[in-house]
């Protein structure tokens, strides 16, 4: 069972838009650097608690957004310990 999810988008504009939309609706999430084992991209992704994943996806879908990938993660990692809405 994973602790949290990394939502990986294709561009920073998408990341910022998704994070803003989710926070407005009270989803605790934060922008973090993409872990290097998930992508060699130098951008950011969104870390969200696993239990909030579905709600997060629903909210951003309303904005016409979808992440390129959703990666499950457990244990220490960028954003794994600090969430704020």
């Amino acid at each position: 069972m994973s602790d949290h999810l990394y939502m990986i988008f294709k561009s920073m504009t998408h990341v910022l838009t998704a994070e803003r939309a989710a926070r407005k609706r009270g989803i605790a999430c934060r922008m973090v650097p993409i872990p290097r084992n998930l992508s060699t991209d130098c951008g950011m992704c969104i870390s969200v608690r696993a239990e909030d994943g579905d709600a997060f996806l629903e909210i951003i879908k309303e904005r016409g957004l979808l992440p390129d990938r959703v990666e499950e993660h457990s244990g220490p990692g960028p954003g794994s310990r600090c969430y704020s809405s």
């Binding site: 294709k10 561009s11 920073m12 130098c42 016409g64």
Partner: protein, 339 residues
């Protein structure tokens, strides 16, 4: 992150301002010239046909002149002496054109083209419509509801932002696959790949964004939204109308503007018979501290159209913050020059 957030705020504000429901369809560029070049060079290929008007700024006529040398056919559809496009002639000329580039508000006369009518003609012929709203956005209504496929804008005029900002707004159903990117580079996305992203807005936004400039543009658009476009237009008409009337009453002076009651972007272009426009501009600046621009205003084509080539005009541009006292001071200054 806060700085990036401001860029997104600005992207959302620009989208809302031009009636787009999708901020991803907003692309920021260095200025409107770059934005227009991006569409013209990215879309047109040898053998293509493009239509424009005889009231365009050099931001349009110069890239088209270059493209003409590369085998693109350029059609200039005529405007009358007040700068209004002959719509029937435009309709007759448009067949087979891939793209129409239309100046919405003239930087010489302030004439405003009827984009609703023009977009209907474009749609009927399957022609993409690019509207150059550099001189009109923030003064008269312009948005995607006009039927434009692409709107090019600048930040530092009616939108009350700072120089070094501009961009494009694409209609939701427009296929950006039709326009290749003019520059490629860092976008913060797909960094592991050497190919440039093909998705919006990264496709057209290579390199570092002008964050401070976009913060200024955001402030400008926020101000316009708070004050309201109708109030801005009312204030501009009050001061520009008084200025135009006053100058036209001066012996030998002539003002070049749309007919009374027609939409107008409130620039006041004028000449005084047998007088060099440079002399008038220099006198107003040096003796009365009044900034104005003389000559062709980077639009010699428009001056040929309205009959002020080769002398050009003197252009005064009262803004939303100009006062009637300043207008009277300006009128007295022009009268003093004439005396």
């Amino acid at each position: 992150m806060d700085a990036m957030g401001i860029v997104l705020d600005c992207r959302e504000a620009v989208a809302e301002f031009f009636g787009s429901g999708n901020p991803m369809n907003v692309v920021f560029t260095h200025n409107v010239t770059w934005a227009i070049n991006m569409v013209l060079h990215g879309m047109l290929n040898p053998g293509d046909r493009v239509i424009t008007t005889t009231m365009e700024h050099n931001a349009v006529t110069r890239p088209l002149s270059t493209l003409r040398q590369h085998g693109i056919e350029v059609v200039f559809s005529r405007c009358d002496r007040l700068g209004n496009l002959h719509l029937e002639e435009f309709r007759a000329n448009i067949e087979g054109c891939k793209l129409a580039v239309i100046n919405h508000g003239s930087n010489v006369t302030g004439t405003v083209q009827n984009i609703g009518e023009i977009s209907s003609i474009c749609r009927a012929s399957g022609t993409v419509l690019l509207v150059d709203a550099a001189q009109s956005a923030g003064i008269v209504p312009i948005g995607l509801d006009s039927g434009a496929d692409i709107i090019a804008f600048t930040g530092h005029k009616g939108l009350l932002g700072v120089p070094g900002t501009g961009g494009l707004v694409f209609a939701e159903n427009f296929d950006t696959g039709r326009i290749s990117s003019l520059a490629q580079g860092g976008t913060g996305s797909l960094s592991e790949e050497t190919r440039h992203p093909d998705f919006m807005p990264d496709k057209y936004e290579a390199g570092t964004m002008n964050g401070p400039g976009l913060a200024g543009l955001l402030a400008g658009i926020t101000y316009i939204k708070d004050l309201g476009l109708k109030e801005i237009y009312r204030r501009k008409m009050e001061v520009a109308g008084r200025l135009a009337r006053g100058i036209s009453e001066i012996n030998g002076a002539r003002v070049y503007k749309p007919a009374e009651g027609e939409p107008w972007t409130a620039v006041v272009s004028f000449t005084i018979e047998n007088t060099c426009t440079a002399s008038i501009a220099h006198y107003l600046a040096s003796e009365h501290n009044i900034c104005c621009r003389h000559g062709f205003h980077c639009a010699s084509c428009a001056h040929r159209t309205i009959g002020t080539f080769p002398g050009g005009t003197v252009r005064l541009s009262p803004g939303v913050f100009s006062t009637l006292e300043e207008i009277e001071y300006t009128l007295n200054s022009v009268r003093m020059f004439r005396e």
